[in-house]
């Protein structure tokens, strides 16, 4: 919840159509904030702290830091 206190919005955007569902980002997320099914992925926005680690670890660049905030 402290994400909301800090920025008030989720700034991490997964380009779902381009995701390979590999789980790399899930393995590094310190907050367990990424839900990944067989072919479905989303961020649990109440847990995400916008730390950007998932952005850096995605091997195929499909997670973006979106300064404007993401609609969820």
């Amino acid at each position: 919840m402290y994400r909301q206190a800090k920025t008030g919005k989720l700034m991490i955007e997964i380009l779902r159509d381009k995701c390979d569902f590999c789980g790399c980002c899930v393995g590094i997320c310190p907050e367990d904030a990424i839900e990944l099914k067989e072919a479905e992925i989303y961020i649990i926005d109440a847990r995400c702290t916008n730390c950007s680690k998932c952005v850096w670890s995605c091997p195929i660049e499909v997670i973006k830091f979106n300064r404007e905030g993401v609609l969820v």
Binding site: D20, C22, G23, C24, C25, V26, G27, I28, C29, P30, D32, E35, L36, K37, E38, K53, W56, S57, C58, P59, I60, E61
Partner: protein, 388 residues
């Protein structure tokens, strides 16, 4: 399907299937839950393994062997090639068939398997894991168990929900991109590795032949590198330069937790195996064989714990793993930290001096010795793991 099992295994990769088999062989009831619709697919792997690593668990079978490996080719940034004969024989697997074969051995031992079952929570009773919640074809379900084995791969969320610290520092995650491409003319019995800034800083680039001029071509870079540049861009760069017209049959992403095993891989009612426990060899990034070894130890101990009705017995798993491989991985981790930060110049020099070693003495151990000649403390580590 029952509503209650002795043991539930989450994930039907190599580690999960072997854990299930070793548990089921002791006559306890075992259920494997796998989120994908197919065991073994999609394949996120270079598929290289030693023959010994396979045969500890399943007799070799041409059905899932794509290539037989006899040599390593290690390429430094200036293009110098160092060839090392493989002391043991090796394979490049066809993992979609291999993983399936492993799951069959678990099923034949008595384990039940349910695919398309996405585990999304644990049942906790009296501070102890007592089963799992899962989604099956869109419907929420629950099933109880005395022991849950998390074999859920790189994600490793099952362990987190049980209170184990499983997430990997992004520096220690090798972020990978790979294609399986055709019309690749490489020696069909050699594994190719490429080192240096251009290929994969802080990691390595590979090309593993898979028969009929196809190959798995890919790389892993630390999440630290990913901050600047993604694995995919390195891969695209390599393919454009060397194989611009190669037809691409598959392309995948993946993460390899390349570090030592988690501090704790068991707690009351829960055990972790394979990538979920971070049991990958941190030097090579290979995790098929070590995951199966972890799975076999956990499966055996879980089965014993049920038979003896001794819940605390699961806690002996940590030490059993550490003695068998965990300790060795700590040494590999030190060697890795010693070499993955080498400059291009250093890689070149190593290749040049290695090629001066008489042919019959060019072993992997000798190569690492050459690489680390100025770091005597690491040489002691190497002496411990390779017979030089």
């Amino acid at each position: 399907m029952k509503t209650n099992y002795d043991i539930i295994v989450v994930g039907a990769g190599p580690a999960g299937s072997i854990a299930a088999r070793y548990a089921a062989e002791q006559g306890v009831s075992v259920l494997i839950l796998e989120k994908d619709r197919d065991v073994g697919y999609p394949v996120r792997c270079g598929e290289a393994i030693s023959k010994a690593g396979v045969e500890e668990f399943i007799p070799s079978d041409e059905k899932w062997i794509a290539a037989h490996i006899e040599k390593f080719s290690l390429n430094s940034p200036d293009g110098t090639e160092a060839i090392v004969e493989f002391e043991d024989a090796g394979y490049v697997l066809e993992r979609r068939i291999f993983d399936y074969a492993l799951a069959k051995t678990a099923a034949n031992a008595g384990a039940e398997i349910l695919t398309r079952a996405y585990v999304n929570g644990l049942i906790i009773e009296d501070n102890k894991v007592a089963g799992v919640k899962y989604e099956y074809r869109g419907e929420p379900k629950e099933v109880k168990a005395k022991i849950v084995i998390g074999a859920d791969g790189v994600e490793s969320r099952i362990g987190r929900w049980a209170g184990l610290k499983t997430f990997v520092h992004f520096r220690d995650m090798e972020c990978c991109a790979q294609v399986t491409a055709a019309q690749i003319n490489l020696d069909p019995n050699t594994l190719y590795f490429y080192f240096g800034e251009e290929y994969a800083p802080g990691g390595y680039f590979w090309a593993f032949p898979k028969g009929m001029n196809t190959a798995n071509i890919g790389l892993g870079v630390s999440g630290m590198v990913g901050k600047q540049r993604s694995a995919l861009s390195y891969l695209n760069n390599f393919m454009t330069k060397r194989y611009p017209d190669a037809p691409v049959l598959t392309s995948i992403a993946g993460g390899v937790p390349s570090t030592v095993t988690l501090e704790k891989i068991s707690a009351p009612g829960i055990m972790l195996v394979g990538d979920a426990a971070r049991q990958v060899n941190p030097l090579s990034g290979g995790g098929i064989a070590s995951g199966m070894i972890g799975g076999s130890i956990a499966g055996r101990i879980a089965g014993e714990s049920i038979k003896l009705n001794k819940p605390d017995h699961v806690l002996t798993y940590d030490k059993a793993w550490h003695d068998r491989l965990g300790k060795r991985h700590e040494t590999f981790e030190r060697i890795k930290n010693g070499i993955y930060n080498f400059s291009d110049d250093k890689f070149n020099k190593i290749a040049h001096s290695f090629n001066k070693v008489p042919k019959d003495k060019r072993s992997l151990g000798r190569l690492f010795t050459t690489a680390l000649i100025n770091q005597p403390s690491l040489l002691v580590d190497i002496a411990k793991v390779f017979v030089i």
